[in-house]
Symmetry: D2
């Protein structure tokens, strides 16, 4: 991840792109990339979505790459460590979704 | 990242949630989390989006955490390494956005 | 629709909100509202999504209302008639998805 | 709007597409179309987003058309009248955003 961050920074620096990379713009770009991923699955049923054709899988891999690039870039602009953010969030999720109440149930237990 | 993946797998295994985690469903959940991030920036101008208030920043960090959790989870369901996907995608981006044509210009050079 | 447009304009005028309603901001807000709709369906299978519980259906109706409000507002800012835009787009779709090639097949025939 | 609904129903019936049009799938497709709209604005500042170039504006009109088509289609699958949903939602919004507290302020007054 550290290596990826370094490469992203260098990529942007060489193109003088930080001027465009406000968190507002990057959040928009992130949502566009996620939609390109969603598009691959929109007409499939759930079972089919688990085993995409190899050519589709390569495209899906590219979209996952794009999403991570924008996410790391956005987090960097705000001086946030995304791995740490995820680890901290999982701690909160453990409280919001206790095993006893959430086993086999995807909804928040308050619902 | 490897540690994060291990923790996410264990979190889901204990709750028996893999049944819900088709790529189709996870792509939807990912798009919902990204929208929760977008919401923080929707009425701000770009300059203001660069320096959110501390309380907002904590919420933004949580959203970034959620997005990474779902992205890692989705990639794992499809046996894709998200870091590798990002590194491979940057190689493609170098060709799509050559420095000479992209410097100070956020658009694909074909446009 | 004309009546709805008139009511939306008056709602915004009284709150002096046109200053926030750039197409950029409204597109973001629209994507957030759509995600709130997506959230209702993310863990359901397709059959279940066709018959939501009455309390859920009321919330879904509210989200559909919000989406239409933002869409009408955004179109109005750009002086676009959304009904005409939809009618014109369907004409294009008839060419992109000819009956012979699209019957029972959700994908563009080029694919 | 009634005419548009009739045309959309006929378009889908001739292609036998109702089998794909679960609310879950349509919500995904709607989010993809909205992202295609967002993409037009992601690198623009707010002022520039108010006056897109004529060629861009034609594309934006198409996206607005697609969004309305999917929204009308989704609402129809759930037997919801989108215009009525918007009118009812504005009534709620009047309470959530009273003029006195919301004038010149885009945020919910609770915040």
């Amino acid at each position: 991840m550290k290596n990826l961050l370094k490469i992203i920074r260098e990529f942007n620096r060489r193109r003088d792109w930080n001027q465009f990379h406000s968190p507002k713009n990057l959040a928009m770009a992130l949502s566009v990339e996620v939609a390109e991923l969603v598009e691959h699955f929109q007409w499939l049923n759930q079972a089919a979505s688990r085993s995409p054709a190899p050519s589709k899988k390569e495209e899906i891999k590219d979209e996952i790459g794009d999403i991570l690039i924008y996410l790391v870039n956005l987090a960097d602009q705000l001086d946030i460590d995304p791995i740490q953010a995820a680890l901290d969030k999982i701690k909160k999720n453990r409280k919001n979704y206790p095993v006893k109440l959430s086993k086999g149930n995807a909804f928040k237990y308050k619902e």
